[in-house]
Assembly symmetry: C2
């Protein structure tokens, strides 16, 4: 059974998941191969039997599960970091978001590694990056994010859901076929929990920040009817980019369906801008996409503002970063935004 562990001194939390060690890697050793071996790709249409049975899929009415014909497909992760189960005890209290208290003789806390770990296969086609999806395919992927988040919320067991995407070996992906992941946990990660602001400061930090950025302009990449794309003032990585809805919305699963196509276009264009800026990678830029959405616990609706973070994998965290927590970023967000603005406006 996987295990959550918490260090009270540093505040560090980890998941010890020995099941993950067996995970196969389809990239070649250089990590520059973006194709892998298509015939054995478990995410390609026709290879449905190579994954665990599907949890959800967009497919024609009447089409049986785990058969071809789908557009987006969600399956349990075959090498999960956390396993289904029910938090022990206290299921009725608000304390589910906490780790168990330390035992009398040890300083550390641990808990069973229960949770959900799902894989969302973005497309039946063997495509490497979001930039290779069509806008409707990207919108369908986002609609699946929304649906799986809503399902995790309904289970009333999970306190936090992280949806993310690792694209390319340098970004931590083991398979080259475009996919996303969802991990649901019974507590709120410490780094998220610290974002909670109590009255009198209980307004949305991000609403104010985006307003200010729109006024200053120098870190804005793009503004559309409903979204703002910017490089954050405290960027950890070269080309780090965020996408915010203009109106205050805390939960991605409650965002309107009518703006999904616009969001899909904005997200896809952001990736295209990054790939164009890092032109020497020839479209094989590795990156992470992170969907930040409100914890599934009371008290977050007023203060949380969902947003996407895109983190290009151009450098690696090294000794200084792991020792101090400070990242050294060789490209200022002002320079990055300027470069990205020069991007791909008319290349859809």
């Amino acid at each position: 059974m996987p295990e959550y562990r918490h260090d009270p001194l540093t505040g560090r939390m980890v998941i010890i998941a020995e099941e993950r060690a067996a995970r196969p890697h389809q990239f070649d050793i250089t990590g520059t191969d973006t194709a892998g071996n298509v015939s054995i790709c478990p995410f390609c249409e026709g290879n449905e039997s190579r994954t665990p049975g599907e949890l959800a899929a967009f497919r024609p009415a009447g089409s049986p599960p785990d058969t071809p014909g789908w557009t987006v497909r969600t399956v349990p992760n075959k090498y999960p970091a956390v396993l289904p189960g029910h938090p022990s005890g206290e299921a009725e209290s608000g304390s589910r978001q906490e780790m168990p208290p330390p035992a009398a003789d040890i300083s550390f806390r641990q808990a069973e590694g229960i949770g959900l770990h799902e894989v969302i296969i973005d497309t039946p086609r063997h495509v490497f990056s979001i930039s290779g999806l069509t806008v409707p395919e990207t919108a369908a992927m986002l609609a699946m994010y929304r649906q799986r988040l809503a399902a995790a919320r309904r289970a009333d067991t999970w306190a936090y859901v992280q949806i993310f995407k690792n694209v390319g070996a340098a970004a931590g992906a083991s398979l080259p076929h475009s996919h996303s992941q969802l991990i649901a946990m019974p507590f709120i990660p410490p780094s998220v929990n610290r974002l909670r602001r109590e009255p009198p400061d209980a307004s949305c930090f991000w609403c104010r920040m985006v307003q200010q950025e729109l006024k200053q302009k120098e870190r804005i990449v793009e503004e559309t009817e409903h979204f703002t794309v910017l490089c954050p003032f405290v960027s950890r990585f070269a080309g780090e980019t965020e996408i915010y809805p203009k109106s205050h919305e805390s939960a991605f699963d409650r965002t309107g369906e009518n703006t999904l196509a616009e969001l899909a276009e904005v997200l896809r264009r952001t990736i295209q801008r990054l790939e164009k800026a890092v032109f020497w990678m020839k479209g094989s830029l590795a990156y992470n996409v992170i969907l930040n959405t409100e914890p599934l616990r009371p008290g977050w609706t007023e203060i949380y503002h969902w947003h996407f973070s895109v983190l290009p994998s151009l450098a690696r965290a090294a000794g200084f970063e792991w020792g101090t927590g400070l990242h050294i970023n060789p490209v200022s967000p002002e320079q990055a935004a300027k470069r990205l603005r020069g991007g791909t406006e008319n290349e859809n």
Copy 2:
């Protein structure tokens, strides 16, 4: 000029250092080359003119600086993350360890990126890993760490000094010749500052932790007369290993000279154990070494316990880690310690 930036919401700090972008990389694209091109290696004996002028070196008395004959050599980093300078204002108050207060109209804080960024060239020989150093060479490297830390302390300008080592491209190194780095900063990083425990809890957490680990035994790799080697309970990385002095010592620059040779042996053996455990990398295992030592500000001596962390670079932080701050570790520290104990006791 580089810049420190701080995000009050997430607590994130970064260094924006555009000077770093010009940094050359001598590894080939696969990142598996451990040699690079020796003839142009700026760290090899005879190539002293390829680095900025030396700040310190262990060399025969009377031997002029920047000439061959040295055993360990410290130079300014040619592509620094921070630049020398003096913190503006308030030099007399304790507030130097803080960022400037936020300006009225913005939420973020920024400060000039002043600091020291030094490179410690561990050996004149073109060696990749600590395992390729002799014990006396390793001890000399540690003696240089102590000397440069003491020099940074004497400057009375810096609040925190991070000494670290990136070995191999996968660990963030750009050059394959064994070297270490020192970065001194005018404030204490937030992740370090949170380790401060106020009375009544102002005793050493690490002293108690190591005692407990020695009792439980399952995460202990090795115990010598003066040092304990263990895999921490909350390990973020497979094979993460820490080395603690047995007696309470807060500052590495104040540790006794008489135990440096023993420490050198322990550190070198720890790396050999890891390289043996990850035998399929054939000695090219990439890793970070981090020296954690007390901040250079009052109030840390009782509560801080210097230690080395060794972080093998076997997997990369990916979307989940960046989104939640939680690391997924596929090898429990109990398994790792067991494997490492099987190691290289008699292979010096």
